[in-house]
C-alpha cells in the first residue's frame, strides 16, 4: 500500500514509517505540507492517509489548519480515501468528537503500543476502499 503519513515530528515520523515498512510492507511518504498532501491524493497515488491531529503552525489557503481540517477537506474531495487519525489527546470523548468532525475512518491514540491492531486496521481500511 502507498501510505501518506502526515506528522510534524520528524523523529516520530521516521520511526513510524520504518515500522510500517518492516511490519506491513507498506510504502510510506512523510509530509506535513497541505499542498503536498493534496497533490499526492489528487494524483491517486495514495491508498491511505495516516493523519496526526496536532499540526501547529501549518497553514492552508491563509488559514491555520490541523489534521482534522485537512481530513475533512480530503473527505469532501475523495470520499473513498481511507483516513486514520492519530491523536495525542488522552480522553476518549475528545477522540470521538475529533473523529466525527474529521469524518475520518478510525483513530489511534499516541503512543501506539498495539502495533498488531494498528496494522490490521490499516489493512481493513485499504480493503474497503475500491
Amino acid at each position: 500500500m502507498n501510505i501518506l503519513l502526515v506528522e510534524d515530528d520528524h523523529l516520530l515520523a521516521r520511526g513510524t514509517a520504518r515500522l510500517l515498512q518492516r511490519l506491513g510492507g507498506h510504502h510510506v511518504y512523510i509530509t506535513m505540507e497541505p499542498e503536498v498532501i493534496f497533490h499526492h491524493c489528487a494524483a491517486g497515488e495514495v491508498d491511505l492517509v495516516i493523519m496526526d491531529i496536532n499540526l501547529s503552525g501549518v497553514y492552508w489557503q491563509g488559514q491555520a489548519v490541523d489534521g482534522v481540517d485537512i481530513s475533512r477537506q480530503l473527505k469532501e474531495r475523495y470520499h473513498h480515501l481511507p483516513i486514520l487519525l492519530v491523536t495525542a489527546y488522552a480522553l476518549r470523548t475528545e477522540q470521538q468528537s475529533l473523529l466525527l468532525n474529521s469524518q475520518a475512518d478510525g483513530y489511534f491514540a499516541k503512543p501506539i503500543t498495539d502495533y498488531k491492531s494498528f496494522l490490521t486496521t490499516i489493512a481493513q481500511l485499504c480493503q474497503r476502499s475500491p
Binding site: 515530528d9 516520530l12 520511526g15 503552525g57 495525542a88 503512543p111
Partner: protein
C-alpha cells in the same frame, strides 16, 4: 340686643356690636371694651361713642397700674360692678343683681343694707377728672374664671343708672363672656385645623416616594415660614461612626465654625441638653425641646452668643428628634428681632404714679426696636407635633438608605464573587489546558521512543548504520521527553511558588561573555555571527535564572536562524536594563506574536518540528523575567524578517515598600 351681638362668631365683631348696643341703650358718651393682656396691662379693643364729648381711646394701651391688682382681684372674686360718681366723690359697689343709682338723691332714698358705698380714692377721682369723666360704670367680663376684661361706660356728666339698666348691662356682660368663650373655642378649632393642615402638608411631602434632600429642604423652609422664623437647620446624626453628620440649612445661620457643626459643639449640646452621642437613650436622658426667646437676655446663653453676634438671630427653638430610644438629630428654628409699636394713653411714669395721676391722655407712641419675639404656646405645640412626624420620616429615610447600602453591598459582593469565580474558572481552565497540553506533548516523544525500541526489539535493521539510526532515534526521543518533563516541572515549581530566587547584583558583561563562549560553536557551525554590545554594568537578578533565560533565548535565536547574525544588546531605558536578542532568522507571521509565551505554542510554520524544542522555553523565560521584576516581549516584522526578543530587569534593588 343679644341677637344682634350673636350675629357673628368673630370676636372683634361681637365686641364692636356689644359696644354699639350698649351705647344705644345707655346713651352715655363712651362705651369701651377694655381687655387685659397677660402681663396685666390693658387695651381698648372696642369702642362706641355718642358725639365728641369724650375722646376716642380705641387701640390705646393702659399700664397695669391704672387698675391696681387688688381692684382686679375684687372684680374677679365678687363680680363687683362699680359705679363712680365723680361729682359726689362716692363709689358704689354692688353685689349682683342689685343695680345702683348714682347720684345723691338716689343714695338718700336707698336703704343702706343693699349697697356698699364709700368715698372714692382721690387719686381715682383725679384720674377720672383728668379724663373728663363725671360718671363711670364698670362691669367685669369673665372668661374661664379669669378676668378677661371690663365693659366700661363713661359719661362726661353725672348720670343716673337704674337697677334695670344695671341688670341689662350685667346680662350683656354675661353674653359677652359666652361670646368670648365661643370665639376662643372657634379660634382654637381654627388653629388646630391650621396646625393639622400644615402637618399634613409636611407629612405628605416627607412621605412622597423616594425621599430626597430637596424634600427635606422644602419641609424645613415651610416650617421656618409657619413659625415666623428667619432661618433653621436640621441636623442628623450619621448612620455609623465612619460617616459625617448631615445638615440641612435654610435662611439665617450662626457663624460658620472652623471645625464641625454647631450641633457638635459640647457647649451647644450642654446648653440644649442634648446627649453627646446618638446612642440608645434611657428614659432619664430623653432630651426635651428648648425654647429660647432672647439669647441675650439670659446669662445662661452667654457662652453661645459669639456664634450669633454677627447674625440677626435672637431666639430659637431646638427640638431633639428621637425614634424609639435612638437619637436621630435635632431641628432648630431661628427667629430674628422685631420692632414693636404701642400706643400708650398719655405720658406715664410708673414711679410717680400715685403722686401724680396723668393729666393728659393724649396718645403717646412707643417704638421698641430690635425686640426679641417670644415663642407662642401655639408655635411650640406645632413644632412638637411636627417633630414626631419628622423623626418618623428621618427614620424611614435611614432604613431606606440602610436597605439600599445593604443592597449595594450585596451587589458588590456578588460582583466580587462572580469575578472571583470567573478568575478561578479561567485559572482552572488554564491549568486543565496546560495539563492536557502536557500530556499531549509527552505522548509524541514517548510514541517515537516506542517506535525505535520496537524496531530494535524486532531486529528490523539491515545494517550497522540502520541499527545506529534506531538507537539514535530512541535516544533522541528520550532526551526530548526528559527536557519536556524538566520544563514542565520548572513551570509547575514556579506556579506553585516553590521557585526561590536568589536576587543580587549581577555583573552583566561577564554573564554575556560567558554566553558568547557557550554559543561560539553554534555560531561557527551555522555560519551565523554573534555580536554582543553591553552598555550596562550590573543588573539586579538571580544569576542562575538570568543565565537560563539568556541561554534559552540565544538557543532559540540560533535555532531559527540559518544565515546572517544574532545580536545581543544591553542598554539603559527608563532606569531599567533593556536586553534584546535579535536574529535575522525565519521571523514570525502572527498578528500577536506574544501568544508564543503561552505553553507549548510554537509558530515557526511548516518547518517547526525540525527545530525541536518543547514549546515551553519562552513560557519559562516569561515566568523568570517577571519574577525578577522585569517584562518580556517579542517583535518580528514577518516571515524571514528576523525576530527580536526584549526583556527588562531592574538595575539595583527596588525599594522595599
Amino acid at each position: 340686643m343679644s341677637t344682634r351681638i350673636r350675629q357673628s362668631l368673630e370676636l372683634d365683631e361681637i365686641l364692636a356690636a356689644t359696644a354699639l348696643e350698649l351705647r344705644n341703650f345707655l346713651r352715655t358718651d363712651r362705651i369701651k371694651v377694655y381687655r387685659f393682656h397677660p402681663d396685666g396691662h390693658g387695651e381698648v379693643v372696642a369702642e362706641a361713642r355718642t358725639g365728641e364729648r369724650l375722646p376716642s381711646l380705641m387701640g390705646l394701651h393702659f399700664p397695669e397700674e391704672d387698675i391696681p391688682a387688688f381692684i382686679r382681684e375684687r372684680y374677679l372674686k365678687s363680680h363687683t360692678r362699680t359705679i363712680v360718681n365723680v361729682a359726689s366723690g362716692m363709689i358704689t359697689l354692688n353685689s349682683p343683681p342689685v343695680g345702683v343709682m348714682v347720684g345723691r338723691q338716689w343714695l338718700q332714698e336707698r336703704p343702706s343694707d343693699d349697697l356698699f358705698q364709700h368715698e372714692v380714692d382721690p387719686c381715682h377721682i383725679e384720674y377720672l377728672t383728668n379724663m373728663g369723666i363725671m360718671s363711670s360704670l364698670v362691669v367685669p367680663v369673665l372668661h374661664h374664671q379669669e378676668l378677661w376684661g371690663l365693659l366700661i361706660s363713661h359719661h362726661s356728666e353725672t348720670r343716673l343708672i337704674s337697677r334695670e339698666d344695671l341688670y341689662i348691662v350685667q346680662n350683656l356682660a354675661d353674653q359677652v363672656s359666652l361670646a368670648i368663650a365661643q370665639a376662643s373655642l372657634l379660634d382654637q378649632a381654627r388653629k388646630l385645623a391650621q396646625r393639622e393642615a400644615f402637618i399634613n402638608r409636611i407629612v405628605s411631602l416627607l412621605h412622597a416616594p423616594r425621599g430626597s434632600d430637596d424634600l427635606i429642604d422644602t419641609a424645613l423652609t415651610w416650617t421656618i415660614e409657619v413659625l415666623h422664623g428667619n432661618g433653621g437647620r436640621l441636623f442628623l446624626y450619621p448612620l455609623d461612626w465612619k460617616s459625617a453628620p448631615r445638615l440641612y440649612a435654610q435662611g439665617q445661620q450662626p457663624v460658620q465654625l472652623e471645625v464641625g457643626l454647631l450641633e457638635e459643639l459640647p457647649l451647644w449640646r450642654e446648653a440644649m441638653a442634648l446627649p453627646s452621642s446618638p446612642m440608645p437613650l434611657c428614659a432619664a436622658d430623653y432630651p426635651t425641646m428648648q425654647v429660647v426667646t432672647d439669647l441675650y437676655a439670659n446669662s445662661e446663653w452667654q457662652a453661645l452668643t459669639p456664634y450669633f453676634q454677627e447674625t440677626p438671630i435672637r431666639g430659637f427653638l431646638v427640638l431633639p428628634l428621637c425614634f424609639g430610644q435612638e437619637m436621630l438629630g435635632c431641628l432648630t428654628v431661628f427667629r430674628g428681632p422685631t420692632d414693636t409699636e404701642t400706643f400708650w394713653a398719655g405720658y406715664h411714669n410708673p414711679d410717680e404714679r400715685q403722686a401724680f395721676p396723668r393729666r393728659s391722655f393724649t396718645q403717646w407712641q412707643h417704638f421698641r426696636r430690635n425686640q426679641a419675639q417670644p415663642w407662642t404656646e401655639e408655635e411650640v405645640t406645632l413644632l412638637k407635633a411636627l417633630g414626631g412626624h419628622l423623626s418618623m420620616a428621618v427614620m424611614q429615610n435611614r432604613l431606606y438608605q440602610c436597605e439600599r447600602e445593604q443592597r449595594l453591598l450585596l451587589e458588590m459582593r456578588n460582583q466580587a464573587l462572580t469575578s472571583a469565580r470567573v478568575a478561578a474558572e479561567e485559572a482552572s481552565r488554564l491549568k486543565s489546558d496546560f495539563l492536557a497540553s502536557t500530556s499531549h506533548e509527552l505522548r509524541t516523544p514517548l510514541a517515537s521512543t516506542l517506535n525505535y525500541l520496537k524496531l530494535l526489539k524486532e531486529g528490523f535493521y539491515d545494517n550497522e548504520a540502520e541499527l545506529k539510526e534506531f538507537i539514535d532515534g530512541a535516544y533522541q526521543s528520550t532526551v526530548n521527553l526528559v527536557s519536556i518533563i524538566n520544563d514542565v516541572l520548572d513551570i509547575a515549581k514556579i506556579e506553585a511558588g516553590h521557585l526561590v530566587l536568589n536576587l543580587e547584583s549581577v555583573d552583566l558583561p561577564a554573564l554575556l561573555e560567558e554566553q558568547n563562549t557557550l554559543f561560539t560553536p553554534e555560531s561557527r557551525r551555522y555560519g551565523v555571527s554573534l555580536t554582543i554590545d553591553c552598555a550596562i554594568k550590573h543588573v539586579w537578578a538571580d544569576q542562575t535564572k538570568l543565565r537560563q533565560v539568556l541561554t534559552n533565548l540565544l538557543a532559540n535565536a540560533f535555532k531559527f536562524t540559518d544565515h546572517g547574525q544574532v545580536q545581543v544588546q544591553a542598554v539603559l531605558s527608563d532606569s531599567m536594563a533593556e536586553i534584546s536578542i535579535s536574529d535575522t532568522g525565519i521571523g514570525i507571521e502572527m498578528s500577536d506574536p506574544n501568544v508564543l509565551f503561552e505553553p507549548f505554542v510554537q509558530a515557526s510554520g511548516s518547518t517547526e518540528r525540525h527545530y525541536g524544542g518543547t514549546g515551553l522555553g519562552l513560557t519559562i523565560c516569561k515566568f523568570l523575567v517577571e519574577r525578577m521584576g522585569g517584562q518580556i516581549w517579542l517583535y518580528s516584522l514577518g516571515k524571514n524578517q528576523g525576530t527580536t526578543v526584549t526583556f527588562t530587569l531592574p538595575l539595583t534593588q527596588p525599594n522595599q515598600e
